[in-house]
Symmetry: C2
Subunit: 319 residues, 2 copies
Amino acid sequence: MAAGTPGRVRVYEVGPRDGLQNEPAFVPTEDKVALIDALATAGLPAIEATSFVNPRWIPPLADAENLCAALRDRPGLPRITALVPNEKGLERALAHGLREVAVFMSASESHNKRNINKTRAEALAAFAPVFERCRAEGVAVRAYVSVVWGCPYEGPVSPAAVLETTERLLDLGAYEVSLGDTIGVGHPRQTRELLEALLATVPADRLAMHMHDTRGTALANCLVGLEMGIRTFDSSVGGLGGCPYAPGASGNLATEDLVYMLHGMGFETGVDLDRLVAAGMLAEALLGRPLPGRALKALAATCTTGPAPSSQPVSASDR
Amino acid sequence: MAAGTPGRVRVYEVGPRDGLQNEPAFVPTEDKVALIDALATAGLPAIEATSFVNPRWIPPLADAENLCAALRDRPGLPRITALVPNEKGLERALAHGLREVAVFMSASESHNKRNINKTRAEALAAFAPVFERCRAEGVAVRAYVSVVWGCPYEGPVSPAAVLETTERLLDLGAYEVSLGDTIGVGHPRQTRELLEALLATVPADRLAMHMHDTRGTALANCLVGLEMGIRTFDSSVGGLGGCPYAPGASGNLATEDLVYMLHGMGFETGVDLDRLVAAGMLAEALLGRPLPGRALKALAATCTTGPAPSSQPVSASDR
């Protein structure tokens, strides 16, 4: 398995966008800046900061302009990215100096229709001028494909449909396609079968995995991806980003869990886990509640010294 | 990988013992009986119910006698087991008709000393008459080895030390040795290296894995075990069983998460996931708080219909 030959893994932080977009209370722009600063300090190489959709669609991200303006003034940030649903969103992103944007669509027709009110063919057609403009501006485009492991309306999604969508997006000019397990139903056997189908024609370095931990299987699925050569994984600080249909349920894979596993296995990420835990603790403080990430909870307890097992007392009855 | 050739996996439920032993409030015996009934109804093949240690050591399990007496009267229960630290504990277990007991020790000297106040050599010597008596009575003995993936006092534990301990316990007469990641530090590469060392001489069907999800890696580690032929995994309903050094942190792997992954991959367990979720919801009701299991939270939201993704609404902005 590839785990025996460690290398570099890119951890793509989506917490400020994918995590905060479902928050019931608006998080002030200065708090978002502080969180992004903390994530940058932790060494994350890419941070998805917000979304240039119509503010009425996603009120928690209605400050996209102000946030990007504030971030533009800060030196030393890693790549800051944002979702753009169309040319109008792209213009707003470009006006704020973003050098990478992301488009998004679904692997299933029903989810695409409900999520962005277009057929998949219409979505791809609408993306064409976005890609064209980005090419002219030298701006990188990432593409998200959601409900890859299962659709809430259609159930299982065929690997062939995912492959077709992935190839179309790469042909349009996406540098990478991030495959999302939007409802967190994926399991490792399915992941292996899916990736076998995709990797027959798509190079591994054009794919990323965006797993949700709704049923606890995110890291096991990532492990399969690692074994098969995937080297970019999306995650969210603290697991920020609840599951819309089950209050309290986990959504996004927690960045700390992912980084803990990767470092243990010998992969380099450029992330400082202690500082990442500090960013997670900041996120909890800003939101006023614990986040679902597991390593965050465990490591926050030993944050000043880092995850040194020798400093952890155990009860007489532990096992 | 073995995932491509599904077979049967034995899920060894330890929630009533390993989960409840750290509960601050005593759970009434009748509630324990109700929980064990629910777990039995869900189809778990083995349930570790309690521990015949000195009640002063573990007050939450001080009702071991009453519990086992109550369980003895109930028809249709699967194998009910209990921890026994010594001959005295064994006598109590035998008096209540148990047909399987478990002994426990640590992979590291320091943890063994602090946990059971014996060196490992002393522990093994003390087990000898326990095994002897069990052999005479036809009672099965399981053995737990804790801190296999890391010791809170010594740090890393060598696979050679684990192998030696495992072989001694099997030689004494254990039918199976359950390897515990007591502090939840294990990662998949370490698991692979550990199992490679053990499986060179120990058959896979004499080993079980008892993973803690403290840093989110339990299922990924189990996946490695599955790939390498391990077919028995310990878990705890709802992830019951907190981590003693980090309030709110996860301890035991949640049975629902494990079963969800196994069933997705095509493994048979004999467990009805809907009924297992019902048992988890009962555990939450008895304890008056949510449990950390992820699949439990997600599936409880759709419990009457089971985990059908088509019944799950998603927000317009989900991805």
